[in-house]
Subunit: 347 residues, 2 copies
DNA sequence: TTGTACGCGTTATCAT
DNA sequence: ATGATAACGCGTACAA
């Protein structure tokens, strides 16, 4: 006679055996209830579910992971330097995982490390994650996506454009919304508009630049190379790039920066030089991170629907398990947020 | 004859059985090698380790979790609204976990929810975490710490003062460093110094206020109630509180804010009113989040050693396992960072 | 539709 | 010091 023949007691948490015994069925039947097997007598199911409720039974995740050779963990792979963005993504993912049996494990990677792919492979193979959500910019790495496929790990990538099929991608319409933003500047009367780009090789940088160019082209404006400054998505490079643009003569009357950090750098540089914003210089950023609203003047910027995107990505990942939150969108629109950093150019 | 009698092949990852067979020992012996059992023949150990290397064997975490009734996961419990701080903590924890078998799972909680404790209990009991790191301000909740004890989960709390014994706490010296910061203002000649507090019930808010008062008292200055404004650690409450203080007559010539967000609010409010910083108003913040360096003028502030604290906390948690990074400190000092928001008062 | 017997990969018990 | 055997809690062939 072993311990299991007794009632669940002594602090021991109830197991599937306890449920089976009390419900007068076999383990397998309980297992079927847990896993929502369709071929089950309704009556039996209800009896089992009743016992589950009474015992407050929850399946042991470790045991399930071993048997299924798959953990109930969703990984978040990122190499994003922007804290607010990463945290918003985490929030979105966690919202989607709310009430499910999934947990989120975070895995930062180093884009520039030669070991990156090997590290991730090791991670995925060892932990047997249910799936991963990959944040930009590392999400643009196709080799990483292929690696996930190889090791049999589901994935959803987030980014500024459709880099993958709908099942594996949640994107925003960066190009379109930047075109809108630039058109807004043009509509205010600006003709000499500078651009601070994101780093080479980033899809987001490219999309935003394309949108910028689209707007100028549509308005019949030319874009001299000198009005484009390179940045690295950091505040410091924003300052440097802004200084270069503000040294120009004639000086641009407006600048679009590919993200808020760099836009904050513009404001900083302008302030140092005594250039008034928006009276003498209009600025538009991108992301709508808190800094955009907290500097002076508050920045007109583009709001990336980060939380919704992350939520959609996570739902896409676990959707089939949790009984379908239905089809998840693969494209979520950004929108222009009007604050106080844009005005008509000085006359 | 079952599959295991063959060589490890066909993409199957090697198991402890493969190692045992090839090394000509039993599973248990391999297990002893993995778990660094002291009672082992050196010769045997080396033979096993050689096979482990050759096979590139790694123990299956899911199986270990089931057998040990303990997952190799470190939880991060937080209710912190400051993204940069949370992400820095994550970074510190991950640095400590680097190269170990541990992963980090993130768990935000709602301080104000009546279900908070129940949720966390459920989480801890289900996931059988190895341990958790608890971030402020939820780390100040003693009931949460007791809960961890109850369910047999190790924990380390982070905070602004020693709230627990050294094994369960990593703190900073907020009170002392705020005293220093305030003394710096006094040394510049300020006599009318305002304080924007953190929210009631936060230990950090209390410690920082005490440090502020310490300095005034030591300098023989009085602190009229009107010079203390309440805040909520948010930018917006910083603006509101600053406006109240700046309406005073005579107006304070310096303000210490209990965090950078609120300090940024002061700068914002001053800018709206045309009050020049630091010429007409000196400001000191706390935390040294990026915003402090990115607004104009760059903020003098206190740098919290967040990453180091988190690293120490995580090491404290897993230290006994990973072969001891030695004793971890329970107190890490903050330091004053001098930038451009402090000057002598106008005469 | 339901149950039996076994596998998942590891650690623990108790021998020797 | 080492090994045989039984847990750990759940899923799955395959039989009934």
């Amino acid at each position: 006679m072993n311990a299991k023949s007794g009632q669940a007691k002594g602090g021991r948490k109830p197991t599937i055996n306890d449920v089976a015994r009390l419900a007068g069925v076999s383990k397998k039947t309980v297992s079927r209830v847990i896993n929502r097997s369709p071929l089950l007598n309704d009556e039996t199911r209800e009896r089992v579910e009743k016992v589950i409720r009474e015992l407050d039974y929850t399946p042991n995740p470790q045991a399930r992971a071993l048997a299924l050779r798959r953990n109930f963990l969703v990984g978040l792979i990122h190499d994003n330097p922007n804290a607010q963005m990463v945290l918003n993504m985490q929030q979105g993912i966690l919202e989607a995982l709310q009430g499910t049996e999934f947990e989120m494990v975070v895995r930062p990677v180093d884009r520039n490390s030669s070991m990156m792919l090997e590290d991730v492979r090791h991670f995925l193979e060892r932990q047997r994650l249910f799936g991963v959500v990959i944040l930009p910019p590392i999400s643009e790495n196709d080799a990483l996506a292929r690696l996930c496929d190889e090791v049999g790990c589901r994935y959803v990538r987030m980014g500024s454009a459709q880099l993958d099929d709908a099942a594996h991608m949640v994107a925003s319409n960066d190009r379109e919304v930047v075109r809108e933003a630039t058109q807004h500047l043009i509509a205010q009367g600006h003709r000499l508009i500078g651009l601070i780009e994101g780093p080479d090789g980033f899809r987001s940088a490219r999309e935003r630049r394309l949108g910028f160019e689209d707007a100028l082209k549509a308005a019949g404006l030319t874009l001299p190379r000198s009005l484009i400054a390179g940045g690295n998505y950091t505040f410091e490079t924003g300052v440097t790039a802004a200084n270069r643009l503000l040294d120009l003569s004639p000086r641009p009357t407006a600048i679009f920066a590919s993200n808020d950090e760099m836009a904050a750098g513009i404001v900083f540089a302008a302030r140092e030089r005594g250039i008034a914003i928006p009276e003498e210089l209009s600025v538009i950023g991108f992301d709508d991170t808190p800094i955009a609203a907290h500097i002076w003047p508050p920045l007109t910027t583009v709001r990336w629907p980060i939380v919704s995107m992350a939520r959609a990505a996570a739902r896409k990942l676990v959707g089939d398990m949790t009984g379908g939150a239905g089809e998840q969108p693969s494209m979520l629109p950004s929108m222009l947020i009007h604050r106080s950093s844009v005005a008509a150019p000085p006359r």
